[in-house]
């Protein structure tokens, strides 16, 4: 039972990541490949604040999300000038840089040794120890994220985002300052990804750079594409399936040394099948270009 709840918590954290990337990739059409970097900043910020300065994880979560947003501005800037493959490479590069910093700035992050003993969230003096309590917390954050992102995309603001995805030149021709919109989207997307990172850190209570490799960014990207770009429900489905499905491998009695690489192979295979059979994702309408 506890194991099942654990899987749901992890799914919830991935749903937040997927929703926030969907805003950038699915709705605005920006091919961002370094999404996990925002979660990395959020996770490390709130963990270091809690461990070194005794700051409450609640405040750390907010500060971490804001730091992630700052990084969003930095990563967002090239997206104003670059397009397509070049932009994908630039964001990929940023993802690698953030990973390298977390690994090599040993004074701050303890590098590959990671940060152990991160405190859990507490509520009126009680630590959120039981798994179900943490699941409730994550569910609340998932719902907040989903409602806010749904409101953003289902509005004149969101309409402009989609217009940028469809045809930037046309969007400019009717007076939309698309550079501004792209930056805002990065800031918002990074903010929620930062929250996801912080939720993860205070749940597992240990983080190290291996949780924030480029493979994780690609996994989140797959969840967006798999569920459906430009679809909120798609993000839920994509994250749930791609988190839960590989877990089933455990029940086939496979050792983790086999299951881990197999997970990536399954991801790859699923993506190939999906691109051939249903390029718009499971319930998306927008086709990957």
């Amino acid at each position: 039972m506890e194991y099942l709840l654990h899987i749901l918590i992890i799914s919830g954290i991935y749903i937040i990541l997927t929703l926030s990337l969907n805003l950038i990739l699915g709705y605005t059409g920006i091919p961002a490949l370094g999404h996990i970097a925002f979660a990395c900043v959020g996770a490390y910020t709130s963990s270091i604040l809690a461990l070194n300065y005794g700051i409450s994880p609640w405040i750390g979560l907010l500060v971490g999300a804001c730091f992630a947003s700052l990084l969003g501005i930095i990563i967002g800037f090239p997206s104003i000038r670059l397009k397509g493959d070049y932009l994908a490479l630039a964001t990929f590069g940023f993802g690698v840089i953030v990973y390298s910093i977390s690994k090599n700035w040993v004074d701050l992050t303890r590098g590959p040794m990671g940060l152990p003993g991160i405190p859990k969230f507490s509520f009126f003096g009680f630590e959120l120890q039981p798994v179900w309590a943490y699941l409730t917390l994550v569910t609340v954050f998932v719902l907040i994220t989903a409602v806010i992102i749904n409101r953003i995309v289902d509005s004149p603001f969101g309409r402009i985002l989609k217009s940028i995805r469809e045809d930037e030149v046309a969007s400019i021709s009717i007076g939309k300052n698309i550079a501004r919109y792209k930056l805002i989207v990065f800031v918002v997307g990074a903010f929620f990804a930062g929250i996801a990172g912080s939720l993860y850190a205070h749940y597992i209570t240990f983080i190290d750079p291996s949780s924030f490799t480029i493979m994780e960014s690609i996994a989140v990207l797959l969840m967006v594409v798999f569920g459906g770009m430009g679809s909120i429900r798609g993000s839920f489905i994509g994250a749930l399936i791609l988190v839960i499905f590989p877990e089933m491998l455990r029940f086939l009695g496979m050792p983790s040394s086999v299951a881990a690489p197999l997970r990536q192979m399954i991801y790859g295979l699923l993506l190939v099948v999906l691109m051939i059979k249903r390029p718009q994702g499971i319930i998306g309408q927008y086709r990957f270009k």
Partner: protein, 257 residues
């Protein structure tokens, strides 16, 4: 009274002079046609005026202010709307959404308003939808409101693009070949849209290859050849201008006939 003044405009593309020392004025409230053979620099001139391309030299003034170095969206916000030769719609969005995007001054275009979902914003969105439906009616496509722009025919897409531009409520409209590739039975709709705009005191500058249309609706015609202005005047004058006929037909073939 010139709403738009173009002074000594030059645009080089890797040594080729696409626009060469071009100067003209567009009179407020008039319909001005920009004509010339293929490759004479008409669309380049449009791109320079609307800010999509930076001039090598020269100055462009719009409503009395210098807009030469402004970004396209800033030029748009000063009251200049345009369409494209190769129609630019948002293909995987509905026809209604395409039109709504053109409407100016939407509160919901700010992030905070979108998240809070203020009642003012929702009411404005309803009003805008009514306005967008009116625009769809003028082009006779109100039945297609929920179809994807992608699914429309070429002529319908041309109309939607023009309707989207109408919604911007600009002072000067630049139409790049509005009738190209459109069924002949749609052309009267297009022409009545342009004449309605003029009746409302708007200014129109358009590129067109169909000479009958140019002669019928223009107040003033500017003729380009090789990036240079070779003639300018009302239709009656241009029709009998030797230089223009030479540019269009070629000297030799005219002598032969």
């Amino acid at each position: 009274m010139g709403i738009l003044k173009v002074n000594n405009l030059v645009k080089h593309f890797d040594g080729i002079k696409a626009v060469d020392d071009l100067s003209f004025e567009v009179r407020k409230g008039a319909i001005t046609a920009l004509i010339g053979p293929n490759g004479s620099g008409k669309t380049t001139t449009f791109n320079l005026i609307t800010g999509f391309s930076r001039p090598t030299l020269g100055k462009i003034q719009f409503q009395g202010t210098d807009i030469t170095r402004l970004a396209p969206y800033e030029i748009f916000n000063r009251g200049m709307g345009r369409t494209f030769q190769n129609i630019r719609l948002f293909p995987q969005m509905t026809v209604l959404e395409n039109i709504l995007l053109g409407l100016k001054y939407q509160r919901g275009e700010s992030l905070a308003a979108a998240i809070i979902r203020t009642s003012v914003m929702l009411r404005e969105e309803e009003e805008n939808t009514v306005r967008a439906m009116e625009l769809l009616k003028t082009i006779g496509l109100e039945g297609k409101r929920n179809d994807l722009a992608d699914s429309l025919s070429h002529g319908q897409r041309r109309l939607v693009e023009i309707a989207r531009t109408l919604g911007t409520d600009s002072d000067l409209y630049l139409f790049d070949e509005p009738t190209a590739g459109v069924f002949p039975n749609t052309i009267p709709t297009l022409l009545s849209i342009i004449e309605d705009l003029k009746a409302k005191g708007k200014t129109i500058l358009f590129i067109e290859h169909n000479m009958k249309i140019v002669m019928d609706i223009s107040d003033n015609i500017i003729v380009l050849n090789n990036g240079k202005k070779i003639a300018e005047g009302p239709p009656s004058e241009i029709l009998h201008n030797e230089t223009v006929l030479d540019a269009y037909m070629g000297k030799r073939s005219r002598r032969a006939t």
